[in-house]
């Protein structure tokens, strides 16, 4: 009998991740990540390996923006690479990426590039503009991020 994981297409795997992330179910999102998943989030300067790295990225976002709304505009499948374009919106309730909480609203367009193998995400790279993020969170300077 073939495992359901192996029969999932790359699109279905990434859609499962996005659906889980959108409903704030981190465990379900991480369940479709490979144990050796490579995680790069350029705006955070983050390069790591393993589901816990990805879990921390998602958890930090949801901790800082508890009402986080993920609106996916496009999912582009190019072989085993799946690219998701979405907008993340939410109201800041805790510090994030060094920015103190000033209860500002965030809306930021992002692109996440996933690599999928055997029904699991083996690589994820996140792209967004940290200048846009800090601008919305009322940060004035990159060298004084925590000063309002």
């Amino acid at each position: 009998m073939t495992s359901p994981v192996l029969t999932r297409t790359p699109t279905q795997t990434v859609q499962a991740f996005l659906d889980a992330f959108a409903r704030h179910d981190i465990d379900a999102a991480i369940a479709v990540a490979d144990p050796q998943v490579s995680v790069t989030v350029h705006p955070l300067g983050l390069h790591g390996t393993g589901p816990d790295v990805l879990r921390n990225v998602l958890a930090d976002l949801l901790r800082a923006f508890p009402d986080l709304l993920i609106s996916v505009s496009r999912v582009i499948t190019t072989g085993d690479v799946v690219t998701a374009l979405f907008k993340a919106e939410g109201t800041q309730s805790a510090g994030y990426a060094g920015a103190i909480n000033q209860e500002k609203h965030l809306d930021i367009d992002q692109a996440w590039r996933f690599v999928v193998s055997g029904g699991l995400i083996t690589g994820v790279t996140g792209y967004w503009c940290q200048a846009q993020l800090y601008r919305r969170l009322a940060v004035k300077r990159y060298d004084e991020i925590a000063i309002a």
């Binding site: 582009i76 190019t78 072989g79 690479v81 690219t83 367009d109 692109a111 792209y127 990159y142």
Partner: protein, 157 residues
């Protein structure tokens, strides 16, 4: 483009995008534009300039927004270059490219005064290449804060 027409669309679309970055590396803006449909859409997502009453964004057409932007970037960074790390494409003409863009600043770029500093920043480009093998859409994402900081500009404008 004649030879490309003999390739499957997946490979042909990827080849068009490869050629686009080759021409970008050669600072051939006319050549880059020549690979695009006349009404090709353009969106550089991180580009936004906040005024008192409006926000200017890097959205529009290749001919009216993209071309002036590329020209200005090359003028400010005369050694502007790119390194293509990966290109993935499909039969619908979608092409996703991971590309580092880098250059050394010689002229003002936006609000960033030139200090002779160098930047290198990862970009994700999403293209759509039409059946005529012309690019009809370009969208790009990157971290503009990374560029500002590398160039010594620490204000969040």
């Amino acid at each position: 483009m004649t030879a490309l027409n003999t390739l499957p669309r997946t490979a042909a679309s990827a080849a068009v995008v490869t050629e686009f970055f080759d021409r970008y590396r050669a600072h051939d803006v006319e050549g880059m534009t020549g690979l695009c449909a006349i009404n090709a859409d353009f969106s550089y997502v991180p580009v936004e300039v906040w005024g008192k009453q409006r926000v200017l964004r890097g959205d529009g057409k290749v001919g009216t927004v993209g071309k002036p932007l590329w020209t200005g970037l090359i003028a400010s960074f005369p050694n502007l270059s790119n390194t293509v790390h990966s290109i993935a494409s499909n039969e619908d003409g979608d092409v996703v490219a991971e590309v580092d863009i880098e250059g050394t600043q010689q002229l003002a770029w936006g609000l960033i005064t030139p200090a002779g500093r160098h930047y290198r920043e990862p970009h994700l480009f999403i293209f759509h290449v039409g059946p005529d093998l012309l690019i009809d859409s370009i969208t790009a994402y990157w971290n503009d804060a990374g560029i500002s900081q590398q160039l010594g500009h620490n204000e969040v404008d």
